[in-house]
Amino acid sequence: MLEITPLHYSLLSAALFMIGVIGVLVRRNVIIIFMSIELILNAVNINLVALSDQLQDLAGQVFVVFVIAVAAAEAAVGLGIIIAFYRNKETVNIDEIQIMRW
Amino acid sequence: MSNAADTPSLLSLILFTPLAGALVLLFVGSRQVDLIRWIANATAALGFLVSLPLWFLYDSTNPDWQFVEQMEWIPSIGAQYFLGVDGFSVLLILLTTMMGVIAVLSSWNAIQTRVKEYYIFLLMLQTGMIGAFVALDFLLFFLFWEVMLVPMYFLIGIWGSDNRLYSAIKFFLFTLVGSVIMLLGILAVYFYHQDVTGVYTFDITQFHELNIPYDLQWWIFLAFFLGFAVKVPMFPFHTWLPDAHTDAPTAGSVILAAVLLKMGTYGFIRFSLPILPEATQAFVPAVVLLSIIGIVYGALVAMAQRDWKRLVAYSSVSHMGMVMLGMFALTPVGITGSIVQQLNHGISTGALFLLVGVVYERRHTRMIAEYGGLSKIMPVYAAIFLIMTMSSIGLPTLNGFIGEVLILQGIFVVSKTWAFFAASGIVLGAAYMLWLYQRTMFGTVDNPKNENLPDVSLREFATFAPLLLLAVWIGLYPKPFLDRLETSVDKVMMRVNADYTPRFAVAAEGDADATEGAIAVVESAAGPIRGGAR
């Protein structure tokens, strides 16, 4: 229990991931949903870094860099969409974004 | 292949110069019409200039393929980017590049709509035609063969006259059907080659050494025949030609007559004859019969025409019948004559179409009855027309005669009956051409619209000048042309006739007394039979 193994990191990661998922499922504010997604990505990163350290392989860290890059891109585009949407509909409530309804 | 070392990628250069010009044109605004015209003309001229070295560097004593370029293209099926030339293709390439210059130049005023697209298509067509002549890979050949179709289709379909869509579609479908069947033939050779050697290749030089069993040859010949005969065009596959010619813009007709039709005959001599020698011999009577029918039939139908361009188009059918006849004489004289006649046909019929184009540009009609008495109004035009008429009907000292006499002599030694009927074409040829000349040039100027037609301009004259020059050159001194054909003709002859002793072999054998022989040639040029070929 006192020795910190990758298991611990994985569990931490899983927990954080689940928090993010729940955020995505539960919240209606799109911005907060996006933030939850960032949490999910972070959870993944924790896992990657921990295993990278464990396996003595830099690939994990490299991927973290890429994940961060993708996250940045996602945030930029996503927030752009939100702004554009907000400008038209005056809302960021995800329940009102439902034009794909049947 | 020593010259290949000096000029490593001459053929590619020739091949892609027009295409490069077309690419440049893509980036020019379509409103800058003059700039487009200048670029197109410059490209065509450049294309001709880069092809000129072929004339000088081609070694007419060397029976090998020259200026060879070989690279992998689609390795998985054995297709290569394989270029090379022999005597046939050298002359035809030069004809192509020269006619390219002339066609582009002749379009200066004739084309006023979609100028940019027009020139791009024309230049693309140019690359397609050159490509078909230089390709030594069957698949590559086929590619270029098909590439030619598309620009021509658009040239007729967009810039043509009255019935252009009908003609364009007819041309396209007709040729396409032919080429699809030809493709089957190509694949048959391809798979047979693989069967025998285990190698997948489209290499024509390999195919030339292949001995295909007779039965298979027969079928492949039939497939090739349909593909090429449509293009030539031989009776009874000719009906697309008058329509296409009539409705195409002038430059299109010129290219069509001067170069595109040669694709068919070139196909025969490059593929059918050497790859399928036994079948060729078996088909001689049939092909000769169709050729003779074509000669007489084309001439007679030409006589009945009221449309100037259509008349020239039917005369093409007659002339191309002559070309096919010479080729299928399967004698060196006949084949040589056939190639020379191809050049001649390119020169004279090309010029005749240009001539129609000149008056069409002024009067916008092709009806012969609309003209008359032009000699008085356009004397220079009449003179050029006269010379080209004479060239077309084979007057000695002009080019047409050399071709006809070689072809007829070549066929005569094979069968007197064939020659007897084929030679009647010279009478009929004179009849319809002279009648045309009389109806358009002679008489009084009945039509007031014709009274103020300007004579040929300097630019128009520039399109005729090289053709006139060549007509006289080939007529008076065809030796440079015939020399370049020597080894290539012999190579084909060796394939179709196992007993044939090629001249280059004789030359190599008798190297010691070569100088002696040369002197003898000069001295006793009129002596009795001399052993040109022992």
Binding site: W102 | P236, W240, Y297, L300, L395, A533
Partner: protein, 705 residues
């Protein structure tokens, strides 16, 4: 002599100069000067070359010059194994071509000089064009004459045909002129078709096209009894000759060719080009001598042509047409000579004929010129006082052609008749009858034109009468605008440039015969001995001697007979056309039927028109219809079939195949009403579903392990 290739080249150069520069830049004088001077130099060179030839020993009088390669050797099988098809640009000077050379350049020069005067009424460009054509003609004619092989000769052969076409159609705005030109060319082409086939057969048989090699090879072959390959060659060649030399059945173009300017008729259609056929037959004398059957045919065709043309000539009223038929007739004579083996006599007659026929044509040109383009003899008469030089020179020509000694025609014609007599009395009979008719119609021409009463149109006095002249129907309006701008002041003598050549030719017509005085008259027949080597391949061939000879007395008797007959015909003509002008009409009425047939030239043109021309045109139109309906119809039919079947497919596709597809789609659509409720459009619902999936997966993972 090595420079003989310059002789044709000079007129060629003149033609190029006049053609390229002259039409635009030269004045009339310059154009004429260029043409005349090149011909003059060519003539001088010819004389020098001829002198050189005379200087050689008899058996070496064959000088061949190869200028350049034309068709390089290409192997080709022949009857004797593999040969080599090769034709160089080579020219040859031997007695035969030497004689022709002098005739062509000499008479050509005179006619050029004459033309300077004749063509003066044409506009400037027209003059240069005329001289360009005329020079070009001489160029090709000289190539024809000098060519050392069949193919080079053929070059000239076709080339003169072209020039003939151009010159006949010189007044191209006149429909009849351009028709005549076309007719000449096409009829000639029919002959050429035979000629070229003959050439091919020569190559196939001998493996070479060189005249001398062929002759030498043929000399070694036996004379054919039946119809062998040599006979076939000769037949083909003779077809060529009938075209060019206007023999039955291809003579129809020559009378029409008179549409051309008169100097052209003189040079091309009397003196030189039309004799090319005779020349060609003489060139191949050795070949023909080996084909007796063809020789017989040649003789018969010759004599029949001579007879037929002479009969037509009897009733023609157009002065040039009379001469044209006379030419056809005389050419028939030459073929008769060659047909009976008297090649030298044929060639001799060719030469004398060139003199007097050119003279007659030029004379008639002078008359026409003086009569303001009037050609109908019925509107002439009594012109002698107005144009004395023309009258006297033409009279000499007529006497010469009629065969009155000691003028040129007598010697050559009697030589032919004598040799014919030796061969066959029937041929001789027809030939003699023709000679009588010749004398008759020539003097009919002279009498109608120069003697008797003037019947022509009135001419305007300097003060008035312009209107009367303007209404006159003279000429055919074939002239260019620059023609007769000035009023016509009555018949007048022609200018010097025209009369001087007439006089020179008259001298020739008188004296040319003396080089062929037969032995019976104490001469030695120089020309025959001179030409002999050309007909025997320089001794390689020994023609069979005629079986029987007539004594000199008998020969003299024949001569006297023909002279008497000719004199009688002349007197008869004088009676009919000068003394009692009504007598001619009387005769025409008496023999109305034959007269009509003759006036209409035996309806041969109509016959050809109805059969050959009409047949070809109908055939052409018919084939065109076939082409449109059947051949193209098949193509279009294929197209329509394709379109129709595609329409059927379309219907099938739309209602059957597509129906099935649409049915499936309809089923799906109906079913989807049930399921589409799930599409809430809310992302979180979807995410929840995803999470459910993860739950299911992980649960399954745990349980399955």
């Amino acid at each position: 002599m090595d420079l003989i290739w310059l002789i044709p080249l000079l007129p060629g150069l003149g033609a190029a100069l006049n053609g390229l520069l002259g039409i635009r830049y030269f004045s009339k004088q310059t154009a004429g000067l260029v043409a005349v001077s090149t011909m003059a130099v060519a003539f001088v060179l010819s004389v020098i070359a001829f002198a050189g030839l005379l200087g050689l020993p008899e058996e070496e009088r064959y000088h061949e010059v190869t200028v350049a390669s034309w068709i390089p050797p290409i192997p080709l099988e022949t009857a004797n194994g593999i040969g080599s098809f090769e034709v160089p640009w080579a020219f040859v000077l031997d007695p035969l071509s030497g004689m022709m050379l002098l005739v062509v350049t000499g008479i050509g020069l005179l006619i050029h000089v004459y033309s300077v005067g004749y063509i003066d009424h044409e506009p400037r460009g027209g003059v240069a064009r005329f001289f360009c054509y005329l020079n070009l003609f001489c160029f090709f004619m000289l190539i024809l004459v000098l060519g050392s092989s069949f193919l080079v000769m053929f070059v000239g052969w076709e080339g003169v045909g072209l020039c003939s076409y151009l010159l006949i159609g010189y007044w191209y705005r006149k429909q009849s002129a351009s028709d005549a030109g076309k007719k000449a060319f096409i009829v000639n082409r029919i002959g050429d078709w035979g000629f070229i086939l003959g050439i091919f057969l020569v190559f196939f048989t001998f493996g070479t096209l060189d005249f001398r090699s062929v002759a030498e090879a043929a000399a070694g072959m036996p004379v054919e009894v039946g119809f062998g390959v040599l006979s076939l060659i000769c037949l083909f060649l003779f077809i060529g000759a009938t075209g060019k030399s206007a023999q039955i059945p291809l003579y129809v173009w020559l009378p029409d060719a008179m549409e051309g300017p008169t100097p052209v008729s003189a040079l091309i259609h009397a003196a030189t080009m039309v004799t090319a056929g005779v020349y060609m037959v003489c060139r191949n004398a050795v070949l023909f001598a080996h084909a007796p059957m063809v020789m017989e045919a040649v003789a018969w065709i010759g004599v029949l042509t001579a007879f037929m043309a002479a009969t037509i000539g009897l009733v023609q009223t157009d002065i040039k047409r009379v001469l044209a038929y006379s030419t056809v007739s005389q050419l028939g004579y030459m073929f008769l000579a060659t047909g009976v083996g008297a090649f030298a006599a044929g060639a001799f007659h060719l030469m004398t004929h060139a003199f007097f026929k050119a003279l007659l044509f030029l004379g008639s040109g002078s008359v026409i010129h003086g009569m303001n383009e009037e050609q109908d003899m019925r509107r002439m008469g009594g012109l002698k006082p107005y144009m004395p030089t023309t009258f006297w020179t033409m009279a000499i020509g007529a006497v010469a052609i009629a065969g009155i000694p000691p003028l040129a025609g007598f010697f050559s014609k009697d030589e032919i008749l004598y040799r014919t007599f030796l061969h066959s009395q029937v041929l001789w009979g027809i030939g003699a009858l023709t000679a009588v008719m010749t004398a008759f119609y020539m003097f009919r021409l002279i009498n109608m034109t120069f003697l008797g009463r003037y019947r022509g149109p009135e001419w305007g006095q300097p003060a008035g009468g312009e209107a009367a002249h303007g209404a006159g129907s003279h000429g055919d309006g074939g002239h260019d605008d620059g023609g007769h701008g000035h009023a016509w002041h009555g018949p007048h003598e022609s200018p010097r440039t025209m009369t001087v050549p007439l006089m020179v030719l008259a001298v020739g017509a008188v004296f040319a015969g003396f080089i062929g005085v037969p032995a019976a008259l104490g001469g030695s027949n120089v020309i025959e001995h001179f030409l002999e080597p050309s007909f025997t391949a320089f001794g390689a061939f020994h023609p069979a001697e005629e079986a029987h000879h007539l004594s000199h007395t008998a020969e003299l008797g024949l001569m006297a007979l023909s002279v008497l007959l000719a004199a009688g015909a002349i007197l008869f003509a004088y009676r009919n056309y000068v003394r009692q002008p009504a007598a001619a009409d009387e005769m025409a009425r008496t023999f109305a039927g034959p007269h009509r047939v003759l006036t209409n030239k035996y309806y041969v043109d109509e016959l050809y028109g109805a059969t050959v021309v009409r047949g070809t045109m109908e055939g052409a139109n018919g084939l065109w219809t076939v082409d449109q309906r059947v051949v193209d119809g098949a193509v279009n039919g294929t197209g329509w079939t394709t379109i129709f079947s595609s329409w059927v497919s379309h219907v099938l596709d739309k209602y059957v195949v597509d129906g099935l597809v649409n049915f499936v789609a309809w089923v799906c659509a109906e079913a989807s009403y049930v399921f589409r409720r799930a599409q809430t459009g809310l992302i979180q619902n979807y995410a929840f579903a995803t999470l459910l999936g993860v739950f299911a997966f992980v649960t399954w993972y745990l349980l399955a392990r």
